[in-house]
Every structure is written in structure tokens, then in C-alpha cells.
């Protein structure tokens, strides 16, 4: 027990790495998802490509995607550090989920509004930014937190390619102390605390940023 307290700073470091790669990947995934959804709507020919991307990413385990990027890409000369490969794969992974979330959000804007806008001669770009985006984002905002949580949970898999995040840190403590239960129990609790906090913050932000809609 006492020696475990000695490992607490390591745990905090691991937590920060988990948080860092998850947030970096979630932000990149959010931007990617937004861009994918916008591209799908702007260029009708891209929608088959979009569906293919979503199908590939959502139909395979994150670990397989990570393996392709980290172990596979060096074959074609693209060698990434473990942390870089992790952030890239997590972004590619969460991007598909964010894109689908945005697709639903944009579908939630009534079609009649778009027809009305077209009748008034409002350009498609303006319709996108001034009519669809504000409403779609209000729809998507409360749900974004779930995607961030998903990203945090999947980030545990990056321990397999030795990214020094939480799970890897717990594994290292286990292999030096030979006590299994406490480090892993602490590990699970840390994740629980982390995802619960994200859920609470996301709910609060979601309510706050859509306050104007409820009057």
C-alpha cells in the first residue's frame, strides 16, 4: 500500500498523457468529422467515399486501426512515434463517429427551411453557415461529450504500443511491484472518475450553450 502511494505521481503523469492524447485526438476528430460532413454535403460525388470511410472505421476494432497505422505504415516509409500514431489513429477513429453525429445533426434541420432559403435566393454557403450550422450545432452539442468519452476509453488501447498513458503506467507498476489488484483497481477508478467528470462538464456546457433555445 505504502509503496503504491509512492507511485501516485506516476499515475498522475499517466492521467495527464491519457487526457492529452484523448483531447488532442478528440479536437482533431471533431474538426475532421465536421469537414467530412461538410464535404459530403458540398460535393454529392463524395458521399459514397464518406460512407466508405465511416463503414471502414466503424466496422473494425480501434486496435486493428492502430496496428495498421503504427506497425503497417512504416512498410510504405511512414514511420510515426507511438504517441503520434496514437493521436492520428484516435483522430481518424473518432472522426468517423463525429462525422456521423454531425450528419444526424444536419438532418435534424427541417428541409422546408432549406427550400425557403433557396426561394429567397440565399446562397448555399450562407445557408450552410447561417441557417444549418447554428441549429445543427445546438443539436449536436449535448452529444459531443459522449464522443469525447469514447475517445478517452479507446485511448487505453494505445498502451499496447507502449504509450506511457494510464493503462501502461498501471501495467508498469504491476510489473515492478508484483501487486496486481491495487494498481488495476486504481486504474479503473481513475478512468471512471475521468469519464464521469467529462460527462458532467459536457452536460453543463451543453445546457449552457443551448440556453438561448429554451427561452
Amino acid at each position: 500500500m505504502n509503496e503504491l502511494i509512492g507511485y501516485l505521481p506516476d499515475f498522475v503523469d499517466g492521467l495527464l498523457v491519457t487526457l492529452g492524447i484523448s483531447l488532442a485526438a478528440a479536437v482533431a476528430g471533431l474538426v475532421l468529422g465536421f469537414a467530412l460532413n461538410a464535404a459530403r454535403m458540398a460535393v454529392p460525388g463524395l458521399s459514397a467515399l464518406y460512407r466508405m470511410y465511416v463503414w471502414l472505421i466503424r466496422g473494425t476494432p480501434f486496435l486493428a486501426q492502430l496496428a495498421v497505422i503504427y506497425f503497417g505504415l512504416p512498410v510504405i516509409g511512414l514511420r510515426l512515434e507511438a504517441v503520434e500514431a496514437s493521436i492520428l489513429s484516435l483522430a481518424v477513429y473518432s472522426g468517423a463517429y463525429f462525422a456521423e453525429l454531425f450528419r444526424t445533426a444536419w438532418a435534424s434541420v427541417p428541409f422546408g427551411q432549406l427550400e425557403a432559403a433557396r426561394v429567397h435566393g440565399i446562397s448555399r454557403v450562407r445557408v450552410f453557415w447561417h441557417i444549418q450550422t447554428p441549429q445543427a450545432l445546438a443539436f449536436a452539442l449535448p452529444l459531443l461529450g459522449n464522443q469525447v468519452i469514447l475517445t478517452i476509453k479507446e485511448s487505453a488501447v494505445t498502451s499496447i504500443i507502449t504509450v506511457p498513458e494510464l493503462t501502461m503506467t498501471a501495467g508498469r507498476i504491476v510489473s515492478t511491484t508484483f501487486s496486481y489488484v491495487m494498481p488495476y483497481a486504481l486504474l479503473v477508478l481513475s478512468y471512471w472518475l475521468l469519464t464521469s467528470s467529462v460527462a458532467v462538464i459536457a452536460r453543463w456546457l451543453g445546457l449552457r450553450m443551448t440556453r438561448h433555445l429554451r427561452g
Partner: protein, 218 residues
């Protein structure tokens, strides 16, 4: 053995083996998780306050933590307590415990969709709670939620890739072994990904077929 087709002939049997292990493990975990999920739903809607609180914490815990962390805890906890659990059992149990949390949520919506009148009628006929559950509620719940349950099975298959870390020769582990034999990571992992894609896509087609067929009948 330089061209891809002859190498693929080498991968094929191993990957099929791995895919069968993955499928078998996931279906086992899924079925056990279904039973646990029903129990969890009953506890969550039971009279006991402690039970309700337990169900809520359970669902929050298993949905809020990574499968990998749950697996590690479950794999090492019994051995620390002096029990020796084979990795395969630990993996199936971890998958079952994990999916039970998700399935209880799916099943709740199914249970809620059944008319109250049916339950009242059953109690008028003195059918008993167990029989009502088994013969009246569950068949309908299963039918109502089957598409959602199939998509949960797809999630279980994807999340099951992490069981490779406790040396279970599932699809992921088998492809790692092939990589260490052939030194062709890109190719092997892409083919392994295709196998996963095949599994999940077939299930997803099955799910939408079932959904369409039942909607026509209703």
C-alpha cells in the same frame, strides 16, 4: 511465395481460426451478458433501493471505463486471491459483464414498450412473476430489441480485440503472430481488418433484414 495470393493462402487458415475464436467468445459473452442484462434491468426496476443504486453504479462503471482496464482487473484479481482462472474464461466474463451494462439499457426500452395490460392480465391469471417474465415479456422484448442487440454484438466484436493482450488467440492475436512470422505488418493487419469488417458487416446486414421483415409484419 512472393505474390500476394500465395501468402494469403498462408494467412487464411490462421485467420479463420482466429475469427472463429473471436466469434465464439463474443457470442458466449453476449449470451451471458443478456442474462445478466435482464437481471440488471429487473434489479434497476425492483423495489430495493440498494438494488436500484447498485444497478445505476454498475451501468455507469462499465460504460465509463475502458474494456481493456476492466479485462486487466478481472484477469488479475482472481489470481491475486489465489484462484486460477483460464484467460478464455476471464475474457468471456469480462465481455459479459461489460455488455450486460449496455444490454440492460437496450432491454429497458424493450420492457417499457410492452403494454401494462398484458402484465395485469398475466397476474389476473395468476401466472407468477417468473412465468410472466419468461413467457410473456422476454419473447416480446427480444423481438423488439433484436436489431439493437445485434448492433451491440457488433460493438462486442470490436471491443473484443483487446482480449489479445491476455494471450487469447483471437483474430487480433493471430494476426500479431502472422506478422512476427512474415514481417509484413501492413498487409496482415489490413487483411485482419477486412476479416473484422466482414464479421461486423454481415451482422449489420442481418440486423437490418430482421428489422425490415418485422416492420412489414407489424
Amino acid at each position: 511465395m512472393n505474390d500476394f495470393s500465395s501468402r494469403f493462402a498462408l494467412y487464411w487458415p490462421a485467420l479463420i481460426d482466429g475469427a472463429l475464436t473471436t466469434l465464439w467468445l463474443c457470442v458466449t459473452g453476449m449470451l451471458a451478458g443478456f442474462v445478466l442484462g435482464v437481471l440488471l434491468h429487473l434489479i434497476a426496476n425492483g423495489r430495493s433501493r440498494a438494488g436500484v443504486a447498485f444497478a445505476r453504479v454498475y451501468v455507469s462503471f462499465f460504460r465509463g471505463t475502458p474494456m481493456l482496464a476492466q479485462l486487466l482487473l478481472l484477469f488479475y484479481l482472481p489470481s491475486a486471491l489465489g484462484m486460477d482462472i483460464p484467460p478464455l474464461v476471464a475474457a468471456a466474463a469480462a465481455l459479459a459483464l461489460n455488455t450486460a451494462a449496455y444490454q440492460s439499457q437496450i432491454l429497458s426500452s424493450g420492457f417499457a414498450a410492452i403494454g401494462k395490460g398484458q402484465i395485469e392480465a398475466a397476474s389476473v391469471f395468476a401466472l407468477g412473476r417468473y412465468n410472466t417474465l419468461l413467457h410473456i415479456q422476454l419473447p416480446q422484448v427480444l423481438r423488439l430489441t433484436l436489431p439493437a442487440l445485434i448492433s451491440e454484438l457488433i460493438d462486442v466484436i470490436k471491443v473484443s480485440a483487446v482480449v489479445s493482450v491476455i494471450s487469447i488467440t483471437d483474430l487480433m492475436r493471430v494476426s500479431q503472430q502472422l506478422v512476427s512470422q512474415t514481417y509484413r505488418p501492413l498487409e496482415v493487419y489490413l487483411v485482419a481488418g477486412l476479416f473484422y469488417l466482414l464479421l461486423t458487416s454481415l451482422l449489420s446486414v442481418l440486423g437490418s433484414l430482421l428489422e425490415r421483415r418485422w416492420r412489414e409484419r407489424c
